[in-house]
Amino acid sequence: MEILVCARRVPDTSENEIELNSAGNDIERDELVYSINEPDNYAVEEALQIAARIGGNVTVVTVGSEDDEEILRREMAMGANQGVLITDEAFNGSDARGIATILQGFVRKGNYDLILTGVQAEDGGAQVGGMLAAMLDYPFASLVNSIEVLEGRKLKVSREIEGGNKEMSEIDLPCVLSIQTGINEPRYVGMRGIRAVASVPIPTFGASDLGVDPGAVGEAAAKVKRVDYFILEFGKGAEMLKGSREENVDKVLELVAAKGGLK
């Protein structure tokens, strides 16, 4: 099976506290630690496991710049057969629809049976996979948390729905699936593994290679634009306990006993 995984390099929220910059119009981007978007890493692991079960080839693609090569190499160290960087000045400032348009150009140049994305990236939008599928007229399933390959170019997939329940469906190939975290246990990648793929060439593609109309992507074509960042005060705010740890422990115990009761 030919599997394509669309991945993205994002600020790692488990490594960074995201803060506003001093002007208050952007997040503080200096010294951010970047890594692969976590759900995308689960998608790569799932692709590798499918390829190991039934045979196949796993390609990881990202739309970005040279800086993003590091996540491609990381996923190649996990076992992906190939990393591809899609980069072009004309792509800068693309909205999600622009990214889906660019990826569509790449998909049409290949012969993929299965296309995976992570369920969402740092913007929490859950957008690109579903858009890409509709552009390609492929079936789509979001929030996928298990995949079984069936006979006759079909998959059986489950989607995570409310209350931890699973919605089981059959889906025809080729298709696009957005992968939920927790579907598998992504393998560990050590420095040695990354060093081993450090000099593997990474092919790059631009707008003309993909037959993408530069006027349909990039900032000028983006219909969705972020204006600013701010901190939303949506709750009344907690009463912060400023005492010593010992005082705070006493207070918490008192509150738990008073409000909930000790058994």
Binding site: T13, E17, I18, L20, I27, R97, G124, G125, A126, Q127, V128, G130, M131, A134, M135, P139, A141, S142, L143, E160, I161, E162, G163, G164, N165, K166, E167, M168, S169, I171, C175, T181, G182, K223, V224, K225, R226, V227, D228, Y229, F230, I231, L232, F234, G235, A238, M240, L241, R245, N248, V249, D250, K251, V252, L253, L255, V256, K259, G260, L262
Partner: protein, 328 residues
């Protein structure tokens, strides 16, 4: 101003809570709007759901088709594309069904897509200005969307307060004949109901709930010891289940369990809206987190900035000490 539609999710004849919230969101986009409810389905369930939304919508469009008896997003997208006029604004709740439907619908309607909107800042020319969040709710952003060719907007559940509204004599328009035969590349098989776990976290007075801040599998014992001392149970947020440190039956949130304890100790939990959606009945919320900017502090009753790996064992010792004094 474009016509505003609200796609209504319903199940077994009952309209989702989001139905009235979408009507409120529509009014915030355009106070003069008379939003139209869109319902798809089949038979008695569809009729019952249709009656249920009459309190919030003066006009209801229905598409009845046996193929739509189960909400398959691909089939519903194909039917909506036949009836929704170009340039319309379509609102959909941002939950598992909306995530499945909305991105592809925007492509097929050739309209702008903006997702998980929690507030509407207004209309400026051909732009709709909305508020959404990034980085798991750590920061919010104003986003401008050009809606000159229409828009599909997914709306965060619970973000818009339903408007006070009296039942109206709603007009129901049957659009079924405009749709025709429907087929999809994805076919629903069955729903597998989550297994019950060893401990039922929905029936606890006190929950010691852990998140990413627990850091390692070995540290889960720290929370278990505290829960044992308190006579409480351990629950968790999504990252802990993803890492397989606790089972799915312990997860609180929209994709896990809905809990209603009296006290909820959120330990190393940042407080994403998907997690908070699983907290009902206004528990007394005590949050402990190393990050003073964690969103959980905005909704907690009491907050402590501290390392849970050091704080929780001290709390456990204190509880044990208190109990041994009481036993004497």
């Amino acid at each position: 101003m474009a016509r505003i539609f609200a796609y209504i999710v319903h199940k077994a004849g009952v309209a989702d809570d989001s139905a009235a919230q979408l009507a409120a969101a529509a009014k915030k986009i355009d106070p003069a709007a008379s939003p139209i409810a869109l319902l798809t389905g089949f038979g008695a369930d569809l009729a019952a759901a249709c009656s249920a939304v009459r309190a919030s919508y003066a006009e209801i469009w229905t598409i009845s088709n046996e193929a739509l008896a189960y909400p398959n997003a691909e089939l519903i997208r194909k039917s909506l594309v036949k009836v929704v006029p170009p340039g319309s604004i379509v609102l959909v709740a941002h939950e598992h069904f909306g995530i499945d439907l909305a991105p592809g619908l925007s492509i097929k309607l050739n309209s702008t897509f903006v997702s998980d909107v929690l507030d509407i800042a207004g209309i400026e020319g051909s732009d709709l200005k909305v508020v959404r969040q990034e980085f798991g709710g750590q920061v919010s952003a104003h986003v401008r969307c050009n809606i000159s060719s229409g828009a599909v907007v997914t709306v965060r559940p619970g973000a818009f307060k339903p408007l006070e509204s009296a039942p109206v004599a709603a007009t129901v328009v049957d659009k079924s004949t405009e749709v025709g035969a429907l087929t999809a590349g994805r076919r629903y098989l069955e729903t597998i109901v989550a297994e019950a776990g060893d401990v039922d976290i929905t029936k606890q007075n006190v929950l010691v709930s852990i998140g990413r801040g627990i850091q390692k599998q070995e540290n889960v014992a720290i929370a278990q010891e505290l829960a044992e001392a308190l006579g409480a149970a351990v629950s968790c947020s999504r990252p802990v289940v993803d890492a397989k440190w606790l089972g799915k039956s312990r997860q609180v949130g929209s994709s896990g369990k809905t809990v209603k304890p009296k006290v909820y100790l959120a330990c190393g939990i940042s407080g994403s809206f998907q997690h908070l959606a699983g907290l009902k009945g206004s528990p007394f919320l005590i949050a402990i987190n190393k990050n003073p900017k964690a969103p959980i502090f905005q909704v907690a009753d009491v907050g402590i900035v501290d390392d849970i790996l050091e704080f929780l064992p001290e709390l456990t010792n204190k509880v044990r000490e208190m109990r041994s004094i009481a036993a004497k």
